[in-house]
């Protein structure tokens, strides 16, 4: 394949640059070893005696003996507020409450990651008062682990150069930061270049991220998806602390050479280069552009993101095409402007996430609200607005299984390009999802309820209710973290305004409501290498048990 060298070059360019950074000691004197530890017992230790009461029958207690301890006499807890000793150490009530003056911070163990990147996550500076009970100290460790740069992080203190002063030591163990985010492989039914249906075509793709480029803390990611005469590329750069602030900066470049398929097995096409009677009308288009964004935390569990997108779209469309819609023949709307056009849009997204686990959650919820508006005054050829609401809730049932309920609702108002509309394949488990904006499959909705959803490929409105039941069958702490068996069942609808106010002729009763069922079953596997879903729905989608595919009213 001629694009293969390009893809290899693209992936090669994503490999992390090898950077050298010395372990930086921002402060420090010679290291002091901890006090000698007593030998740890290798077998279960003998119990100490009970010293109060009457030994119970069957107890292995030895006769009463005086309790022994190496503890020093109990300290008198100050009855008033914190006491500042002449030596600069503050002991507040409670013997484990200690405060020191921070003399410096020492970072150890970093080879690729620069010390200043580590120090970004430490909210203390030399001269600050360090309270050993400050929860920020524990959070600092988790913040550093959360960067993904380190396999282990340990904090400790050692004496400074004068009494009452300490040095905060941050010991890190770096980890591989090149991460495979996603891998896509599947088969679909698509369309040949002359518009005739083809049985099966393979598609695939992958997403890879270097989360700590040259030790700077910046993430660089790339992704590609490929199918027959379709290609999608992404490059993404994210800085979780943009310019040292609490804002996340994120930018992405995209390129798509895409095809999409319209009609339902017997379309008429006005295209001088193609036969007029085809199975499907094919729209070809390229997208080239990018996105810049900023994100900020709204609290422990909430974040807000603002994005601006700009894309140039080049579309090659048939001069005209028509297809059956119910009993009528109507022109096909390709939802793209022929030739060159521009998309310019602003997006705001709020995310609220209280899940206890990103992949196999057992409790909590995940909710997003997104609003996007095309900036027609700033050059967008597609005037539209888009609103999406999505919520999920996980429940742990008394017997340990997990129930997941999910709801989705969205609307597009105006003339959005087709890749911004709602696609039935994204809602039905029996069809392949879009990958990086590429649509691989020509099939309509499975239509298990025999409704007019079979006439709909893209819609301006979509809604879905879904329930998933999970049974944990394995939990581990090494290479495989968890395996769950799951089964899901859902109801979804995709439609446009015309499907509501002017449904296709020939459908009656409840069949004018464009809804369909979806289901899936399989395994969810969480591993050290990533998370995988092995589901049967995509394969089941090729089994010919579907409802009427030509449309219930197709002549």
């Amino acid at each position: 394949m001629r694009r293969a060298p390009l893809i290899l070059a693209f992936l090669s360019s994503l490999l992390p640059a090898l950077a050298r950074a010395q372990a930086v000691r921002t402060w420090g004197t010679s290291e002091e070893g901890p006090p000698a530890a007593p030998a740890a017992p290798s077998s279960p230790p003998e119990p100490p005696p009970v010293t109060i009461g009457r030994p119970a029958p069957g107890s292995t207690s030895a006769p009463h003996e005086p309790a022994t301890t190496s503890a020093l006499p109990a300290e008198e807890t100050p009855s008033r507020g914190p006491a500042l000793s002449a030596t600069g150490i503050v002991r507040t009530p409670g013997a484990v409450a200690l405060k020191y003056t921070l003399e410096g911070i020492e970072v150890r163990g970093n080879k690729a990651t620069r010390a200043r990147v580590v120090l970004r996550y430490v909210p203390l500076r030399a001269g600050d008062v360090l309270d050993v009970n400050d929860p920020e100290l524990a959070l600092t460790r988790f913040r550093l682990l959360g960067t993904g740069f380190f396999r282990d992080v340990q904090l400790s203190l050692r004496r400074g150069t004068q009494r009452g002063f300490v040095v905060l030591v941050v010991d890190v163990v770096e980890r591989n930061t090149l991460v495979v985010d996603d891998v896509w492989l599947g088969i679909s039914e698509d369309v040949s270049s002359n518009g005739s249906a083809r049985p099966l075509t393979a598609y695939g793709g992958a997403a890879v991220t270097e989360t700590n480029v040259a030790g700077t803390g910046i993430a660089l990611g790339g992704a590609f998806a490929v199918a027959d005469r379709q290609l999608a590329l992404r490059v993404r750069l994210a800085d979780p602390q943009f310019l040292g602030t609490s804002w996340l900066a994120d930018t992405e470049l995209l390129y798509n050479a895409a095809r999409d398929f319209f009609g339902n097995a017997d379309v008429l096409v006005d295209d001088p280069t193609q036969p007029s009677a085809q199975d499907f009308a094919v729209a070809q288009y390229t997208r080239l552009g990018g996105r810049v964004g900023l994100g900020h935390d709204l609290g422990i569990s909430s974040q807000v993101f603002f994005d601006y997108r700009f894309e140039k779209i080049d579309a090659t469309l048939p001069l005209a095409a028509s297809d059956h819609r119910g009993l009528d023949v109507e022109p096909i709307d390709f939802m793209l402007l022929p030739g060159t056009s521009v998309l310019s849009a602003l997006r705001a997204t709020v995310v609220h996430d209280t899940r206890d686990d990103p992949f196999l959650p057992t409790v909590g919820h995940y909710a997003t609200a997104m609003v996007e508006a095309a900036l027609t005054p700033l050059g967008s050829d597609y005037p539209y607005a888009k609103l999406v609401l999505h919520g999920s809730q996980w429940f742990t049932l008394p017997w340990g299984h997990v129930l997941h309920l999910e709801g989705f609702a969205g609307g597009v108002f105006g003339d959005a390009p087709l890749f911004e509309r709602f696609y039935v394949g994204d809602f039905s488990d029996l069809l392949p999802d879009r990958v990086l904006g590429l649509d691989f499959d020509r099939r309509p909705a499975p239509n298990l309820l025999s409704t007019d959803i079979v006439e709909i490929r893209y819609g301006n409105y979509a809604a879905k209710l879904d329930a998933e039941y999970r049974v944990p069958i394995y939990r581990g702490r090494r290479s495989i973290y968890g395996v769950d068996v799951f089964g899901s069942f859902g109801l979804y609808s995709v439609c446009s305004q015309e499907d509501i106010v002017d449904p296709p002729r020939g459908y009656t009763g409840l069949s004018v409501i464009p809804v369909d069922l979806t289901f899936n079953a399989g395994l969810r596997i969480d591993t050290q290498a990533g998370a995988f879903v092995l589901g049967i729905a995509n394969l089941v989608g090729f089994v010919p048990f579907r409802g009427p595919q030509g449309g219930a009213a197709r002549p």
Binding site: P34, P35, A37, A40, P41, S43, P45, E46, P48, V50, T51, I52, G53, R54, P55, G58, S59, T60, S61, T69, A74, E75, A95, V96, Y100, L139, F142, R143, L145, G146, G148, D152, L155, S156, L157, R159, V166, D182, T209, G295, I300, S301, Q303, F305, T349, D356, P358, F359, V388, F395, T396, L405, R434, S450, A467, Y469, R477, L491, L517, A531
Partner: protein, 223 residues
Amino acid sequence: MTPVRRARLGLATALVALAPLVAHAQAPAPQQPAHPDALALRKANYAWEGELLRVSFSYRDVLADPALVKKLSSGLPMVIAMRAYVYREGDVTPVALAPRVCRVVYDLWDEVYRVHVSEPERERDQAAVLDGVFRLCTEARDLPVVQRRLLAAGEAYFLAVVVDVNPVSTEMVDQMRHWLSRPTGSTGIGPTDALFGTFVQLFARQIATSDKTLTFRTEDVTP
């Protein structure tokens, strides 16, 4: 029956079937041993003080890892939390729970460990050398466990013990997750839309647990 009616009937049946599951859904109970009677056996000394059962046992081996001993001297607080569940032999539901929390921090300039112990009936602050820390923080001495009236006479009971070193609290987990999720930002409904979304889980497992967990059960005591 038409396919549409069949499907509607199926959908209604499924919803009815799911309803009781939702109604009984609840937050998980505090973690306790799944199979308490199958835990490794350890000796304990029991005594009755009137109607109160007291017990002494050691879990000194929870600090068998030299790295944890070294961490005791880090100058930052270390928590050793012990939960002793009282079970009747053959049962999987505990009848009582006796916790014990030891918080220790090394005073760098006075070169002494400052220990705070919380257990039923008492809280105390002490200063200790390292061996004293082991005695104070990894041994339960005369721990009040359960009143006799909660136990059935003639039945055998035992303790299932869970010891965590530096356990992570729920609040802490929330804050950790907050940081873990920072690079994500995906808003798509499908997992295929997320470019960065999946790698965070690689770290959640490591940091959402304690530094060390020790579980065992004690020998029986019969009231």
